[in-house]
């Protein structure tokens, strides 16, 4: 059985919850006060899906500004990138938009970009309006790759889709990710 290695990176402003998502996905763990990432963390996750084995090589990047310039290292050659924003923090959304633009510009053409609005369990603290988030979707033209709604379904492995929703959305944990595309 073939084992497919898939390079995946998470991008987004500092503190939006990238590491939490990864932690949930890789180890099914959640830590209340997870420290901010230094540089980048690397983790692997083995997923068996439809009799195929995937090894996700996940780069969890640090969101601070000073690490910004390092990002190419991580998305270069990546099959997928998850850009994360925090629904309770307005400023994280434009930042996410910037990332998407950068990825569209710099990353490989086949890269699958997913944008995740994290911390849905904190609905009452929401700052990013549900209306606003829809609009950018139109900007993501099919020419970049298909943006689609991830929710509960896995993608066909063959098309190099990024995320398995189940782990990513942190079911059972405090933080819920509301994937919109």
């Amino acid at each position: 059985m073939a084992v497919k290695e898939i390079k995946l990176c998470l991008l987004g402003e500092s503190g939006v919850g990238k590491s939490s998502i990864v932690l949930r996905f890789v180890r099914d763990q959640y830590k209340e006060c997870l420290e901010s990432t230094i540089g980048a963390s690397f983790m692997t996750k083995r997923v068996v899906l439809d009799e195929r084995t995937f090894i996700f090589q996940i780069w969890d990047t640090a969101g601070q500004e000073k690490y910004r310039s390092l990002a190419p290292m991580y998305y270069r050659g990546a099959a997928a990138a998850i850009v994360v924003y925090d629904i309770t923090r307005e400023s994280s959304f434009p930042a996410a938009q910037e990332w998407v633009k950068e990825l569209q510009r710099m990353a490989s053409g086949n890269i699958v970009i997913a944008v995740a609005g994290n911390k849905c369990d904190l609905e009452d603290l929401r700052e990013v309006s549900t209306v606003a988030r829809k609009l950018p979707a139109d900007d993501f033209t099919p020419s970049m790759g298909t943006s689609y709604y991830l929710h509960g379904t896995a993608r066909e492995p063959g098309t190099r889709r990024a995320q398995e929703k189940k782990g990513c959305c942190g079911g059972g944990g405090k933080r819920n990710s509301d994937i919109i595309y």
């Binding site: 590491s19 901010s36 540089g39 980048a40 963390s41 690397f42 500004e65 000073k66 390092l70």
Partner: protein, 540 residues
């Protein structure tokens, strides 16, 4: 604090009775750069800056070396490393707001303006930080830019300390401009205010404690180097050259915890004061085996340093032949590991600048723990930013080998609380000691035990060591031996060409008993030297 404890007079003694011999721990090959940490502070700060500027960039050397070996050198790579990986992205964007820029040339005017402001505005934003608790803190540390922009405050929120920062900046520039000198310290009531001014950055400590000025300046210097470790000196200069008012916090966000943890570390870790590194005691063969594991499996191009750290102690260091590690750099590395839990979760790949090694650029560090319990940390420092997977592979192989030969077990055994007890020395009345071998820049010290188990008592104990150290190294009257009887302990400090020894005894000890004990201790250290120190310098 120790000085206040002193009840009896100190006795300064000629060392007729202490048996001086070759310093235990001497070895032919050194791996660390030996120095006294305060040497660099002795001269004018400006001169120090000059010295740093003139230093060659090791990283460039290494990269160039690597690219010579490899015909297909990537120009981009070399450039990036030269400036720093951040490149232009760190240039502050035009939309950057400037606030509070002082363009008024007259300093007196500034000073009085600032002071006026302070005196007339009680209901400033400072509400939060002018609370009694804030004021009651014994030791404040502030870092600000030349232009007075807050960078860091140990306690409180920097935003709410704007006027305080303003005052500090005014004081510094006032002295600079009017007296063409740099302010070093002030005394105000029971507080001492110590300044350290490096180019672009002002570091200030306001303390009610009894740490000496010199010690505080060493600590401030460490903090400065911690900042450099995150940014590099070149970047720092470039930033401020472009924008004098730049808010450095943007670059340092997320790094405050390193400054916090460094401050804590400095209060507990004697190595910073001694400018020496503490090694984990290990049998010589074991350490050798560990080092060889690295040599064999990490002989990778562009790998400059490989080290294993356990519980803030150095297990082994393997280095590129030409290059040595400075104890300060190692302390910064240790601080990095201690402050960041995230390394324990997964392998990490992060840039780090070692200011003493090369302040102009970054090394890239692969950081991972070798064991489940996350006690033993492996660091691989390279100039090649793309070598993650290679190094990851090295790590795996090294781990396998260590497990195979029980290296990890030996390390964890040595980490047990009772493994290095003072009782092992078999000297009664001796409670604790610090021994530093000057030529190797390594020191050894037993685990703390009763009566120094509580944090308060440990702090007090280190205060005593600081006191001893300061008294002996006092530039006005340097001493060879100092014997001091305090309320709770008797202290003995002994400094020679080859080593420094600081010992703590029961207060009931007599001078002759103490000297006798010290002689015995030296003999013991000599006997155990191969275990307590790294005597072999291993290179790739």
């Amino acid at each position: 604090m120790a000085a206040k404890e002193a009840e009896q007079t100190e006795i300064e003694v000629e060392n007729e009775e202490l048996q001086e011999d070759i310093a235990p721990g001497d070895c032919g090959s050194a791996m660390l750069i030996a120095s006294d940490s305060f040497d660099s502070l002795v001269g004018n700060d400006y001169e120090t800056e000059l010295a740093i500027k003139k230093k060659k960039s090791h990283i460039n050397e290494i990269v160039r070396q690597g690219s010579f070996e490899q015909e297909d050198s990537c120009g981009e790579q070399a450039d990036v490393n030269h400036i720093g990986p951040y490149g232009d992205a760190t240039t502050p964007s035009a939309s950057e707001e400037s606030s509070g820029e002082q363009s008024d040339p007259s300093m007196t005017k500034e000073l009085s303006a600032v002071l006026d402001e302070i005196s007339k505005s009680p209901d400033h934003d400072d509400d939060d930080v002018k609370t009694p608790e804030w004021k009651a803190q014994s030791k404040h540390v502030f870092i600000l830019s030349d232009s007075g922009k807050p960078v860091y405050s140990r306690y409180g929120n920097e935003d709410k300390l704007v006027t305080v920062f303003g005052v500090m900046q005014a004081l510094v520039s006032f002295v600079q401009d009017s007296a063409h000198d740099s302010i070093r310290s002030l005394v105000a009531g029971e507080h001492r205010i110590i300044f350290l001014h490096h180019e672009n950055i002002i570091l200030v400590c306001v303390t009610r404690g009894s740490e000496s000025d010199r010690l505080i300046r060493i600590q401030l210097n460490y903090l400065y180097n911690q900042i450099l470790s995150v940014l590099t000196l070149s970047t720092l200069k470039k930033i401020f050259k472009q924008r004098r008012n730049y808010d450095l916090r943007r670059q340092l966000s997320g790094s405050e915890k390193f400054l916090d943890s460094l401050l804590t570390m400095m209060e507990r870790e004697p190595g910073l004061l001694l400018s020496a590194v503490r090694c984990l005691p290990l049998e010589c063969q074991t350490r050798d085996m560990i080092a060889q594991s690295i040599v064999q499996h990490a002989k990778v191009k562009d790998l400059v340093f490989a080290l294993i750290i356990a519980n803030s102690q150095l297990v082994t260091l393997v280095r590129m032949k030409k290059y040595f590690l400075h104890p300060m750099d190692l302390h910064i590395i240790i601080n990095l590991i201690n402050a960041a839990e995230s390394f324990k979760a997964a392998e990490s790949w992060t840039p780090i600048c070692l200011p003493k090694f090369d302040s102009s650029g970054f090394l890239q560090a692969h950081i991972s723990y070798l064991d489940e319990a996350c006690q033993t940390c492996l660091l691989l420092l390279t100039v090649d930013r793309d070598s993650f997977f290679t190094l990851s592979g090295c790590k795996t192989k090294i781990t396998e080998r260590l497990i195979k030969y029980n290296g990890l077990k030996a390390i964890s055994d040595s980490l047990r609380k009772d493994s290095y007890n003072i009782s092992k020395c078999g000297i009664s009345d001796l409670r604790h000691f610090l021994y530093k071998n000057k030529s190797t820049a390594q020191y050894t010290s037993p685990e703390l035990e009763a009566p120094y188990l509580s944090p308060g008592e440990q702090e007090r104990l280190f205060g005593l060591y600081h006191y001893l150290h300061n008294r002996i190294h006092s530039s006005a009257r340097p001493l060879k031996i100092l014997y001091h009887v305090g309320q709770y302990e008797a202290l003995l400090g002994w400094v020679t060409q080859g080593f420094e020894l600081y010992a703590v005894f029961s207060p009931l000890v007599t001078k002759s008993l103490a000297i006798n004990a010290v002689n015995k201790l030296m003999a013991w250290i000599r006997k155990e030297a191969s275990r307590l120190f790294i005597l072999e310098s291993v290179t790739f």
